[in-house]
């Protein structure tokens, strides 16, 4: 009797992840080994976001801040190492394309909306053409270093 052998399906080649994302994913895996089962979800979300090629910089920042808020107190060193990896690779683009500038992400904010609100407020205070803070364009982007490596 022959046993049917499943053949591997052909997969579309996945995009190679940048080295910094692999480094950060390794740190997330290390974090996962040291957190309680109750806190594992946040870390798994972070690790998935780091390993998912299609994730946007805003999505990655959102899950990182969620994990940081919950776990940084007990795992400060690992979050410091994660910040060191993420810092040069994420940025906040202020303004419209032609006149935009990219600033480093300030990880002291507890959430992405809070960070964007503060950035919009700053932009509004320095740009007389803007009629309200909400009109200010602020986007989370991969920094030049991240784009070059990918």
């Amino acid at each position: 009797m022959s046993i049917p052998i499943s053949r591997p399906t052909s997969f579309a080649p996945t995009r190679r992840l940048a080295g910094w994302r692999m480094d950060a994913a390794r740190l997330a895996a290390e974090l996962l080994r040291s957190v309680s089962p109750k806190a594992a979800d946040e870390v798994l979300d972070l690790r998935s976001a780091l390993l998912e090629p299609g994730v946007t910089p805003a999505m990655l920042l959102r899950v990182f801040l969620a994990a940081k808020n919950r776990l940084e107190k007990e795992h400060y060193l690992l979050f410091f190492r994660l910040r060191r990896v993420l810092e040069p690779n994420l940025g906040l683009r202020l303004g419209r394309e032609a006149a935009s500038r990219i600033l480093p992400v300030d990880f002291q904010y507890r959430s992405l909306p809070q960070m964007l609100r503060r950035a919009r407020q700053n932009l509004f205070e320095h740009d007389l053409a803007l009629t309200s803070p909400d009109a200010a364009a602020v986007t989370v982007v991969w920094s030049l270093a991240a784009v070059t490596e990918e």
Binding site: K73, E74, Y76, L77, F80, R81, R84
Partner: protein
């Protein structure tokens, strides 16, 4: 076991490993000094004093390592640029930062320097240079103790 060094300095792997350790130790001393100046917050006095003890200890260590390079008949590398090139110690924050970030950055610096000291220890063991091995073991022990203290400080702060 032959403990004397008869190889020419340029081909002696111990000299290369010691030079890296010298670069890392010198760099770590500078970073610790910077942390001593710039640390702020409620733990200021505690950390300011602890960092001073650490960079003073590193100052003596740098001298011992450089003199060991001379004792095995090679010239010690020197000058900020040359030593910086030899080092992979990551920097501490340069501006305002939580005190915990200075501690975390120094942990990374001591981890890097521990690895350099272990490389000296192992290379010296392979070549039978017991005196250099002894120096390296002492350095590993100092860095491991400092790491224990710095990591303990960060726990549940």
């Amino acid at each position: 076991m032959n403990t004397s060094t008869t190889q020419p300095a340029v081909t002696n792997p111990v000299v290369g490993a010691l030079s890296t350790l010298l670069g890392d130790s010198y760099s770590l001393m500078g970073e610790t000094h910077l942390a001593h100046w710039n640390v702020e917050g409620s733990a200021f006095f505690e950390l300011h004093g602890a960092f001073q003890k650490q960079y003073e200890e590193l100052f003596e260590a740098v001298d011992d390592i450089a003199e060991r390079i001379r004792a095995i008949d090679a010239y010690a590398p020197g000058g900020l640029k040359a030593l910086a090139k030899l080092s992979t110690v990551p920097p501490v924050p340069t501006g305002a930062a939580p005190a915990k970030d200075f501690v975390a950055a120094l942990i990374e610096g001591h981890e890097t320097t521990t690895e350099s000291a272990k490389k000296v220890r192992d290379t010296a063991a392979e070549t039978g240079d017991l005196e250099t091995q002894d120096l390296a073991i002492g350095r590993v022990r100092v860095h491991q103790k400092t790491l224990w203290m710095l990591r303990s400080y960060l726990k549940n702060l």
